[in-house]
């Protein structure tokens, strides 16, 4: 008997099958994911999603007997009171009795329910989204280099010597050139010594001794000519510097927290930030988040304060932009970081601030940002009033000018929870048109 411990064998043998099954159900799954993002509570975006798939899409048909029609018989256990000849009313809806005739594999449900893993969920969620302006990112990233293995070379530093390759070449060369082998030479040495030691050598033996000595000398000479390891054998591991992809990003969340922003508007903004963060963390190894909130002056805060506490005061948007510029200059050198910014506001701004905003954006921020997204969050009550562009806020009108000139600037208006994902989708869609 054999006991084999298979617990350490690779898990997830069904992964391929699962993926294929998901692909089959992809359309349905996508709809479900899109729906879920609208309905979910804030903290849940990152958790598992239950998806219902209509059975017909993944049905495996077989030839089997229908559940009704024809004459049947059933043998059942547990008779209590019946005697031969009794009659029982059939349950309405037919079937009954036998039980197993219903369906071939016992799945009678109308839909097939299952749970997506986190990765599958996010994959589908971000399926058609693309990081904006990746090309530009690459240009900036080219500064960081990393050495990677790149085959073998004939020259190099001794520390990179590849022993296996070198010895293989050496062996091949020695065989090809018939370098005398050491056992062979040892044997010859022993024969010569034995013969030389013998005192009763005949003339014939003497002749043989001379012959052997000549052969010995020849082999020694040959072994000297054909080196054991020759410079032509040497092989070195080769390394090549390759540009290292820049794997970190920083995301700036800018939000107006002045009195005019209601809780529900902040909630909308938070959802947007949350999606952006999820999205970035899938694309980059490391994502830093910087929260800047502003009223008439801006301050960097932690997440809790950012979303929870309310402030009173006026609204000067340029203060937040200025703060962001300062932090970038201080902490996030452009050659190491990809910079993303998302601003949420209700659109109010101090009337004299427009020019300052525009100039900071144009000159300082947009040139080094990968992407700057502006979402204007509006109360549902206001939605009707502000839906048309003509009634847009002051900030919206100002930003509109920028959006027309810069491809990495995008702006959208959000009215309700259900809008968040579509808007996010639009902002980051693969074939995003310049706004």
């Amino acid at each position: 008997m054999n006991i084999v411990d298979r617990r350490l064998n690779p898990k997830g043998k069904s992964h391929t099958n699962r993926q294929r099954f998901l692909r089959l159900a992809r359309e349905t799954v996508k709809e479900a994911v899109a729906r879920s993002i609208k309905e979910r509570a804030l903290g849940d975006v990152d958790t598992k999603e239950v998806v219902n798939i209509p059975r017909r899409r993944i049905h495996e048909p077989r030839f089997y007997h229908a559940s009704s029609g024809g004459d049947r018989e059933h043998v059942l256990p547990g008779n209590h009171e019946y005697v031969q000849g009794d009659k029982l009313p059939k349950p309405s809806g037919g079937g009954g009795g036998g039980g197993r005739e219903g369906s071939p594999d016992g799945e009678g449900e109308d839909s097939f329910q299952f749970v997506l893993t986190r990765d599958e969920y996010l994959d589908i969620l971000f399926d058609e989204l693309e990081l904006p302006d990746l090309a530009k990112t690459h240009l900036k990233e080219a500064t960081a280099l990393r050495t990677t293995r790149a085959g073998y070379s004939c020259s190099g530093s001794p520390s990179n010597l590849n022993l296996v390759r070198t010895m293989r070449n050496s062996l091949a060369r020695r065989i090809a050139l018939h370098r005398p082998k050491s056992p062979e030479m040892a044997e010859l040495d022993a024969a010569v010594a034995a013969l030389a030691d013998r005192s009763d050598r005949s003339a014939e033996d003497d002749e043989r001794l001379v012959c052997l000595r000549a052969q010995q000398a020849y082999l020694v000479r040959r072994a000297k000519y054909i080196a054991y390891i020759d410079p032509v054998d040497l092989r070195y591991n080769r390394y090549e510097p390759t540009p290292k992809p820049n794997a970190q990003a920083v995301m700036f969340c800018l939000m107006d927290v002045s009195g005019s922003m209601s809780e529900s508007m902040k909630d909308l903004a938070k959802r947007f930030f949350l999606l952006l963060h999820l999205f970035l963390s899938r694309k980059y190894e490391q994502v830093d988040v910087v929260f800047i909130r502003h009223t008439s002056e801006a301050k960097e805060v932690d997440e809790e304060t950012f979303f929870r506490s309310a402030e009173t005061g006026g609204t000067v948007v340029s203060s937040a932009l200025e703060e962001m510029r300062r932090i970038v200059a201080e902490r996030y050198p452009l050659e190491d970081w990809n910079i993303y910014a998302a601003q949420a506001s209700d659109g109010d701004n101090f009337s004299g601030d427009s020019d300052a905003c525009l100039s900071i954006l144009r000159r300082e921020l947009l040139p080094f940002c990968q992407y700057f997204a502006y979402v204007e969050v509006l109360d549902e009550r206001e939605a009707g009033m502000f839906r048309s562009e003509a009634n847009a806020s002051a900030l919206w009108r100002d930003y509109k000018i920028i959006a027309e000139a810069h491809r990495n600037f995008a702006m959208k208006r959000v009215f309700s929870k259900a809008d968040i994902f579509p808007v996010f989708h639009q902002l980051f869609a693969k074939n995003r048109q310049a706004a």
Binding site: P61, P77, N79
Partner: protein, 514 residues
């Protein structure tokens, strides 16, 4: 049990293991004790055993590929995985304690989460009960190749993967989807006539020539012959040549489909081989489980009698054992058909009773085994030579029918009521037994479908005939979908005729390839 290796604690009370925790040492020790009973006392004849320890996650993986350790990729296995995983995570179903593979050596999977008592139960159940059945039952011996199955599955997996690489996943999936739909109709129910060897053919031809020579009479030449209509004779002959009617649809498609590429034919063949491999399991489910359950019950009790497992372990075993053989009554909401474990185990125990301590009734009903005294001999003969339906016909005793309170309902389509046709009494025993036998008869359980006609010279239309048994029709929507698959594999039009016993056509479906 070897005394030398025994720990002081064990030798004090003779137990194989002390707590629910298992380790490789207790596993090995317990296996040896079980083996001694199974081979020595019960006289079982299993394949060599291989026990594999896996985690619950791996058990789920194994589940989804019909319990086989190697299997080709297909989305339907993913679907099964997703479903089982959900049921398991939600706690609707536990995992099976074990999976056992009909191979040589016989591989049993046991889960690391099980307690030591469960591991002992599983080893007795799978590694000896099922294993003995696989090795000895005539269906498995005739139809499955325990030596080669794992190699074949490895080949199949590699072949399917290579086809996917060459022709694309979608093209492979198209064939597999269609072939899977026909799996139930892709088995040989009887062996084919053995192909005569060349020597036999020559001998026969020689005999025929000799006969002609010896009975030659020139007179026959002068007798006028009636000319046969040539095309009619031809058509009939063509059907015979390709072996119509043919009940193995996958075989027929593989051999004669005009459109399939070679690699597609091979895929159909792989599905057919696997269907054939599993066919005996479907026909012996009840017996196989009954055999394994009976064996583990005997072995565990014996271990307890020998003082090798504790009372606590025995209680744990009995709790789990009685869950396995629980049979709800027909009006219980939990009822979902007859539990094969329950019926199988009950029949094995009943045979034991009849052989060792029969009543007069048993002597009358089963004279050839009643009171012979050799329980294991009788059981082993039964396990070797029967399948579920014949086993019931042969061994279901009146005593057991009374005990299970079996009764038979007749369900006529045009009646508003069920009729209690027979119950467990003198007048009903035979009819209940026969009805239960029919319930397990694969020939009646699976629809009777055959390829009955194919117009190879004309429009190449393929005709399938479903011969209705007692007017029970096929499930219509599924039948149409599968027929579309048949048409796709065949490459030309396919028809399905439902013919009732009196020769009337009940339905006729048609499908053309996409």
């Amino acid at each position: 049990m070897s005394a030398g290796r025994a720990t002081s604690q064990r030798s004090a009370n003779g137990l194989l293991y002390q707590s629910g925790e298992w380790n490789f040492d207790t596993l090995k020790r317990t296996f040896d004790a079980i083996e001694a009973i199974a081979l020595g006392e019960l006289g079982l004849d299993p394949y060599p055993n291989q026990i594999e320890l896996i985690s619950s996650e791996q058990m789920l993986d194994a589940y989804s590929s019909i319990g086989m350790p190697v299997f080709y990729n297909h989305w339907s296995f993913g679907k099964r995985f997703v479903r089982d995983e959900k049921l398991y995570r939600k706690g609707y179903t536990g995992l099976a304690y074990e999976i056992v593979i009909n191979s040589n050596p016989c591989i049993s999977y046991i889960m690391e989460e099980n307690t030591m008592t469960m591991q002992a139960l599983v080893m007795a159940h799978a590694a000896f009960g099922h294993n003995h059945f696989f090795k000895n039952n005539y269906l498995f011996r005739e139809w499955t190749d325990a030596e080669g199955i794992l190699d074949y599955l490895t080949f199949a997996k590699a072949y399917v993967a290579r086809c996917e690489e060459q022709h694309g996943v979608a093209a492979v999936e198209r064939i597999l989807d269609a072939a899977h739909a026909l799996m139930d109709q892709g088995v040989n129910r009887y062996s084919r006539r053995p192909r005569p060897s060349l020597a036999d053919e020559e001998k026969r031809a020689e005999a025929r020539r000799k006969h002609n020579r010896e009975t030659y009479n020139d007179l026959w030449r002068t007798v006028p012959k009636k000319a046969k209509a040539p095309e009619e004779a031809d058509a009939g002959q063509a059907d015979v040549r390709i072996g119509l009617p043919e009940e193995n649809l996958l075989y027929f498609i593989e051999k004669f489909s005009p459109r399939l590429q070679d690699w597609e034919r091979e895929l159909v063949r792989i599905v057919r081989q696997i269907a054939q491999y599993f066919y005996p399991q479907k026909q012996t489910k009840m017996m196989n489980e009954g055999c394994a359950t009976y064996v583990h019950y005997r072995i565990m009790n014996r271990l307890y009698d020998l003082g090798k497992i504790s009372e606590g372990a025995m209680l744990e075993f009995l709790a789990s054992h009685s869950n396995v053989i629980f049979q709800p009554e027909f009006d219980d909401p939990r009822y979902s058909g007859i539990n094969p474990y329950a019926l199988g185990f009950a029949m094995m125990q009943d045979i034991e009773r009849i052989v060792s301590d029969p009543t007069a009734e048993d002597r009358a009903a089963l004279p050839e085994i009643a009171g012979t005294g050799n329980v294991m001999g009788v059981l082993k003969t039964a396990w070797a030579n029967f399948r579920d339906d014949s086993f019931i016909a042969q061994y279901l005793s009146p005593h057991l029918m009374r005990k299970l309170r079996l009764f038979k309902l007749a369900d006529h389509a045009d009646s508003k009521e069920y009729l209690v046709d027979a119950i467990h009494d003198e007048r009903g025993y035979d009819r209940v037994r026969r009805a239960l036998q029919r319930q397990y008869d694969p020939g009646l359980r699976d629809p009777n479908l055959q390829v009955t006609g194919v117009d190879l010279k004309g429009n190449r239309r393929l005709v399938l005939t479903h011969s209705l048994n007692k007017s029970v029709p096929l499930s219509e929507s599924d039948a149409k979908t599968v027929l579309a698959y048949v048409a796709d594999l065949w490459g030309y039009e396919a028809q399905l005729h439902g013919i009732d016993a009196d020769g009337t056509t009940r339905y006729r479906y048609e499908a053309t390839p996409p």
